[in-house]
Subunit: 237 residues, 2 copies
Amino acid sequence: MTERPHIQLDDELENLTAQITEMGGLVELQLANALNAMSKRDSKMAQDVIAMDHDVNLQQQEIDIAAATALALRQPVSRDLREIIATIKMSGDLERIGDLAKNVAKRVLVLNQEEPVTLTHGLGRMGRQVLSQIKDVLDAYTAHSVSGAMEVWTSDDEIDELYNSLLREFLTYMMEDPRTIGLCTHLLFIAKNLERAGDHATNIAEMIYYIEKGEPMAEDRPKGTPNKLTDVKPKAD
Amino acid sequence: MTERPHIQLDDELENLTAQITEMGGLVELQLANALNAMSKRDSKMAQDVIAMDHDVNLQQQEIDIAAATALALRQPVSRDLREIIATIKMSGDLERIGDLAKNVAKRVLVLNQEEPVTLTHGLGRMGRQVLSQIKDVLDAYTAHSVSGAMEVWTSDDEIDELYNSLLREFLTYMMEDPRTIGLCTHLLFIAKNLERAGDHATNIAEMIYYIEKGEPMAEDRPKGTPNKLTDVKPKAD
């Protein structure tokens, strides 16, 4: 083996970490603003969230190019290599969270054309929970904390529960007053978007585990459980 | 620069391609069976689809490990490097398609406990379209065909249109007969799962472009357009 240019690689790894942290911060802000736009019925803010998506996508491209360059020029091995591979995967997860925040914002724009909705309290709560998952997983990433990552990973169950209870709530509203069906469908998809954003935080937690432990986490991660919807049956006549 | 062990790398790239193709075939089968289980109301088949997810996840792990090993030992550059990076991303997209197929199968199990449903024709049509997108993008991958990939990429709009028209249909049913709300919500999420599976085929198309062209595709890819749901308003009383 030839000698590796370790110092430059360290610099590049540091830059990649900084880029992921920056992208993470941007995506966190995007989702926070989407939730604010929802609770405050603020269409201007929702539009800003949608516009932010462009920057998030560019950041992903920059990260992927930087990661590919580091792979090509520095030929990293072991932990360094895992870190770069994880970077590529995490930029994908962050991009998807940004996408989901954008989708929430798009639905907020539609909701704002309707009557004021009081159904969004539960969504707000779920959103805050997801947001704190994203914050925690990014903290675990910068702190190289496997235990922090595991905590995010196991907490995903709580989000799934919140999601299922929201789903039941919206379905009940729809059944009680069919005029709310269009509206509740938006709320239902917002809830689904938030649940998916939580899943991506879980993916990032798995990547942290992989970086630090050198092997993939066992596959049975907590996930969305659509079959829980079995609990909700159309009311008998 | 030291001389690269080209021959071994070529072997490994070939193996990676074979693994992606195999995983793609498995995921294709998984989604095809999920759709069959839906149209034939076959709960046993749906259960098999759910069980297949374990193999798909293992395949993803194997591919990622093989890709990481190739990166570490062979230090590829240029096209070879892009191919391996793309492999890691594509295994992620395929894993998600498998996940979505599993979710469809889980909902089929629930639907099968209900009265026979005739609403699934449109879903079947959409499913076949998504399936052919996945097949086409895998063909484009093995054929190194940028034009094939672009075709999949642009066809995603059709799937989005199918999705939006199904959404309108289900919402109309729900409004006309609130007893169908629970049921239609399942169908609605199946449609959403299929639409997302189509998005992942689009992602793979972008990766093919990246491998062959050496740069990421311009960002404005066709995507789900949730705001189209604005067309559907609760009926006035």
